[in-house]
């Protein structure tokens, strides 16, 4: 076992000016010099100006009670402001005035007491310094021995150490009894849903029209000029009775139109766009914020949360930031009335990655 070393000159801890006998413990690697300085004891008391000069003391007194009176004034002001600055309907300015005046009254009320009390303590109160004696936290040897004796007697009388079967079965029971309570919290999760299934599908299906967010009005291909960015939801989303936000959190899409010559498409996805119009999931593949900052000339798509950047001209691959996967593309086409429709759902789960995603 390692010996704690007092390298350098050392002395029994009892004599050290750094520790009294009752605090003796191993000093470890501390270096305790034998000719260190002694504590010079307390400095002589230095009187304050308010102790010596009666007029200054009177002035300090006046300051203190003035502050307390100002505090009362502040409280009254706050109550008055509450009544004098009502909130008019539709008037934001009235709220601003109410907030400010009630607040300033409360501030005066509080600061008056605060500064008054501190000033009283600093300039008028005459306490000398208190000196408390510290005792070792662990108590004296007698106290510790007494505690040990208590346990020894209790052990003897109960047989706790002796009766190992009783003891071990008790410990087992105590460890296990909270578990049912923990299991009850499983109820926080839905009982009848399959997470991976749900995360892998969205509301988009073959023939679903692309509609404007938030109005739900379907979009014609001819509406979209080069350089546009349309925020899109599936038609029918607004009619959902429940689950609207949950579906929108997967189905939100950004629709952009580039010059076809600038669009660099993978061969198997050339049918997914229409004359330079492309649709991509708006949910960032990093941790799920809406990716919506579209730069129409550079074709960069920036996510404002952690600055992932996707290149729309190159299948939304990641060009900067912590994301990895490109944004999923929604295959689109045009129906016989000219409206943009989805050809199918996304071919991969949208949004942030999850463990089972493969």
């Amino acid at each position: 076992m390692a010996q704690d070393d007092h390298s350098g000159t050392e002395v029994a801890a009892a004599d050290s000016s750094h520790a009294a006998p009752e605090f003796a413990g191993s000093t470890g690697t501390a270096v305790i010099p034998h000719d260190g300085f002694e504590n010079p004891g307390f400095e002589p008391h230095r009187p304050r100006v308010t102790d010596e000069d009666a007029s200054r003391q009177k002035r300090a007194q006046r300051t203190v009670y003035t502050l307390f009176y100002l505090s009362i004034l502040g409280s009254v002001w706050a109550i008055a402001a509450y009544m004098l600055f009502p909130i008019e309907s539709n008037d934001v300015g009235a709220v601003r005035l109410n907030n400010m005046f009630v607040g300033l009254g409360a501030t005066l009320a509080l600061l008056g007491i605060g500064f008054g009390a501190v000033h009283w303590g600093k300039s008028l109160m005459t306490s000398p310094e208190s000196i408390d004696i510290r005792h070792p936290i662990g108590g004296t040897e007698a106290t510790k021995a007494g505690a040990v004796e208590v346990f020894r007697e209790a052990d003897e009388e109960s047989g706790f150490s002796r009766r190992s079967v009783i003891r071990n079965s008790l410990i087992g029971a105590l460890l296990v009894f909270p578990l049912p309570a923990v299991v009850l919290f499983r109820g926080l999760a839905p009982q009848d849903q399959m997470p991976v299934e749900l995360l892998s599908h969205t509301m988009w299906a073959k023939g679903t029209r692309l509609a404007l967010d938030p109005s739900g009005v379907p979009i014609k291909a001819s509406d979209i000029t080069v350089g546009s960015a349309f925020h899109v939801i599936p038609e029918g989303l607004n009619d959902l009775e429940h689950g609207r936000l949950e579906e929108k959190a997967k189905a939100a899409v950004l629709l952009m139109r580039l010059e076809p010559s600038e669009l660099n498409q993978a061969p198997d996805r050339e049918s997914w766009s229409y004359d330079g119009i492309v649709a991509y999931s708006k949910i960032c593949t990093h941790v799920g914020c809406p990716v919506a900052l579209y730069e129409q000339h550079t074709h960069h798509l920036l996510c404002p949360c952690h600055q992932s950047q996707f290149d729309v001209a190159n299948h939304c691959e990641v060009i900067f930031g912590p994301a990895k996967r490109p944004l999923p593309q929604l295959p689109i086409a045009v129906d016989d009335e000219g409206y943009l429709i989805a050809q199918s759902d996304f071919t991969e789960p949208v949004g942030p990655s999850f463990w089972e995603r493969s």
Binding site: N90, N98, G114, A117, P190, F320, F354
Partner: protein
Amino acid sequence: MSTTSTRSTALEKRSFTAAASDYINDRTGLAVAIKGLGRKAFPDHWSFLLGEVALFSFIVILVSGTFLTFFFQASMAEVHYDGSYVPLKGVEMSVAMASTLDISFDIRGGLFVRQMHHWAALLFVAAIGLHMLRVFFTGAFRKPREINWVFGFILFILAMAEGFTGYSLPDDLLSGNGLRIIDGMVKGMPIIGTWTSFLLFGGEFPGTDIVGRLYALHILLLPALIVALIAIHVGYVFIHKHTQFAGPGREPTNSVGPPVLPIYAAKAGGFMFIIWGVISLIAALFTINPIWNYGPYDPSPVSAGTQPDWYIGFADGALRLIPPGWEFVWLDRTWSFNILVPLIVIGGFIVTVLLYPFIEAWIKGDKREHHIADRPRNAPTRTAIGAAGVTFYAGLWAAASSDILSTHFSLTIEGVTHFLQAAVIIGPFIAYFITKRVCIALQKKDREIVLHGYESGRIVKLPGGEFIEVHQPLDEYERWRLVSYENYAPLMIRPNARGKITAGQRARAGLSRWFFEDRIAPVTKGELESSHSTHH
């Protein structure tokens, strides 16, 4: 007869206060406490008040929060807003958002209380942070206070959790996107991630449960834990007594300072009202969390400048600094290291901070109680480690505002990100190096002052024509402050009883060398005498 009359007159003469005090004392035994504690000493240094800043802002949070619970409704049922704020009239939103708007626009003083609550929360966590730094840099976590450090750090984490759950309650666009990010991070965790996400939100994101659940955490479970831990934390300070800086008359075996009654009560009580007043002033004049601008949470819109409250910034910044592409599919599963690495690094940082007192104690082997606070310069390695840690944390925190840094300083977000990626790695090393050298230099300067006194500014011409500056020697009180610190030497390795030198011992000696190899010993009496004899 005269006795009875004197006694009856004596009874009439007793004041109401005396009678009332007697009544209460006979039923509570308070006199014992007052006699024992009424003149308890409280060591007096400005940096010892930082914990109180946290405590007093917490009281503001509790009181203002209680007011808010009467008006806030933690339901995600959809409703069409019908209150005073024109640009949201008729908009569909959750009842939680609508009730927060009502507090802000339709209840007099509601906005003021809401702002006090939120500003106090920001101040609460900031004060805890500053207080923790003070405790760290003065070594106030040493025995017997290690456990109190652990409890205090847990309080820091709980305070952040309170803040996060709190600002997510209004279900607005900013905090909703924050929840979205949390959900994305949870989903990225291996094996349990997807299932945990569904557990937390009661199904798919956003679901209709999360605000209610966060509310239960925010007003019931977390405050209860915080109050209990504060009681233990302050109780420990009470039992251990507060540390004090070295000074004349201050021994490791005493505690010196103004007494509780009346001075400390006046100053601390007054300080409490001042903190309340400062929070009130800020809430009266400065907008915080203007949810009416953000609007209700919807998965489609997002605001430029989407950041969490400042105390979550380090985590957001860590996410932003990960380079592209740190995710792959292997064995049919997705491994998201762009999320795992920030979690692991932050977790490691937290665990290191939590265990630091135990690590330092193991290195030093010093088992005595320590009640004299260190001056940071007298523990150079510890201070330098602290500076490195602060630099690392600050780098992550700055990264959370990378887009705002770029707009305000006309930089590119790519440039800011790359700079901070380098800074969080190199910065701590630079900060460590500079801080350690500065500490040692300051110690050397202290030595010089003890040995040779202050430069007095008086120039004297000696008979030989030489000009010297007269140095003013220190009085014994000033000198004590500069010579009374503890000095440690590196551990010397010795074989154990079986003649072996274990790996643990080697590690300990190596760390001990790192900590204490460069050290400046305090001036001793002998040294001072010999320097005087050589000079005069």
